[in-house]
Amino acid sequence: MAYVLQQLLTESAVRFPEKTAVWARSRSISYRELDEQSNRLAHLLKQRGVKKGDRVGLFFPKRVESVISMFAILKAGGVYVPLDPQAPVDRIAYIISNCGIRVLITQDEKRRALDVATRESLELCVVLDEARESGNGTRVLPWSALSDFAASHPPVITLIETDLAYILYTSGSTGRPKGVMLSHQNALTFVEWCADKFQITHEDRLSNHAPLHFDLSVFDVYNTVKAGATLHLVTEEIALFPATLAKFIETHQITVWYSVPSALVLLLLHADLQTGKLPHLRTILFAGEVFPMKYLKQLAELLPGVELDNLYGPTETNVCTYYKVDRARLASMDKLPIGVACENTEVFAVSDQDEIVTKPGESGELYVRGPSVTYGYWGDIEKTKKMVIPNRFQGNFEEKIYRTGDLVTLGEDGNYYFVGRRDSMIKSRGYRIELGEIESALLSHPSVREAAALAVPDEVVGNRIKAVVAAHSLQSIKAAELQQHCATRIPRYMIPELIEFRESLPKTSTGKVDRVQLSQESYPIAV
């Protein structure tokens, strides 16, 4: 059995060499090509000094080279860091510096958009398009350089399951994103569970809707490869248009779909899904946010033969609980549970009295235990110590558990139900957003004296973002200006859609911004 992710590819390349492994933007590669290209790139990286544990960034929109690169970096013993191709350069520069990325696989256009200091800090960029100027010596290599390297075997390295495989950056409450460190064991714990639970075979055709820096894509990529199935990458121009997306699912005969609920809701509302139109779809998995029940019920009715599963879990553990929709029960349910722990994972809720919840009706913060739990956040021992903590409920040996910050209730049916957050993290379109990160961005504008970011509930995307801002006296700012300023620091999906200006923000008795009052004063944003 595989103990590092790249073995999944090696095995499938032997079994299904000519089968299509990945399709994207009208191009496709076979398992043999995926194996050989990733071998070549791995040799290139190793020759250029990538050592075990080195972080290598991926910075380009999804294409077949994305998957080739992921496997290549793993084969070189490196740790891949998928960078959001739509994030502002300032954020990308921060991440590159934060985890010490010295090698980047990117496009020349994106490389040149980085600031000079960041560019200079990179030892090597492998660019997918032709580099416009030479004169960077050998620090910028074109993808075509791969042909100089051996294809039949990966470099010889010693790698074990507890070595890191990738780092996924998520929103940070203090204003900067944090890098969740994930090992081969973390990833494979999840992948093995999925393989068993959803019975993916080489005849399946999986989509990849989620961005590669989002952990839903771990299922898409590695469960496809493990089974020798085919992966169809969904790119922007398909994802944004529900009718196009539905056509994509139909044309590619997708059998297993995994995405955030809002993507499914948009399909439901705008893609004229009809029973029988997607006959190959057998399983739909969703995660990342609460699925509004009325839409889930409609979807279930439209797709009667399809298995529906609610998966829950933070990036720090990947999926830790699951609930398979019981269609017979669905009509009478007004809340969908997050379910029970995945096999080989343990979860429990801890009450305010610091006791493990055992009785139905009781609530507490959900904790996760097991081999899927992250080591912590790259370079942030303080934050790691807060969330990845010694297991005080077990005294026989030392181990770490993860506190999710999610409040849950144990149901009569033995399932956990999500109640809410302890803090100001929200979900919008499945994206994890720390309101504090948005506030940091706003406050970094010289004219802003006070700022609060709020979630305004929305039935399609979960939450929309509103900001309430007080400017320094005698200064005035326009909303558009602030939004532009935010765009240089935070990803687009975090930028407040609506900004309200006030003389000052309401405060609680302890002098903190009174968010409860601000939320109560808010109104839903009209489309």
Binding site: E236, E237, A239, L240, F241, A243, H270, A479, A487, R492
Partner: protein, 89 residues
């Protein structure tokens, strides 16, 4: 040859996108042939706000199946879609 009507439509489209979509993403300029999806101006919600604008302000009906990259990717493409629906033969 552009008539006054055609210029107006493109201007309206540009203005709507600039004020209602681009600015909320912190984007100040975009060209008429630039992909509004790739540059992040339009996201999954923006698509529908654009369609609503086209229906309510430009008077054209846009069917769900017409909501696609071919028709809405850039200012030029949007203008073409509107014109194809307002010109008769």
């Amino acid at each position: 040859m552009t008539t006054a009507n055609e210029t107006t439509i493109k201007d309206q489209v540009r203005q709507f996108i600039r004020e209602e979509l681009a600015s909320a993403k912190g984007i100040t300029t975009f060209s008429d042939d630039e992909s509004l999806m790739e540059n992040g101006v339009i996201d999954s919600l923006g698509v529908f706000r654009l369609v609503t604008f086209m229906e309510e302000n430009l008077g054209v009906r846009v069917g769900d199946e017409e909501i696609s990259a071919e028709n809405l990717e850039s200012v030029n493409k949007i203008e073409q879609l509107v014109l194809s629906k307002t010109k008769k033969a």
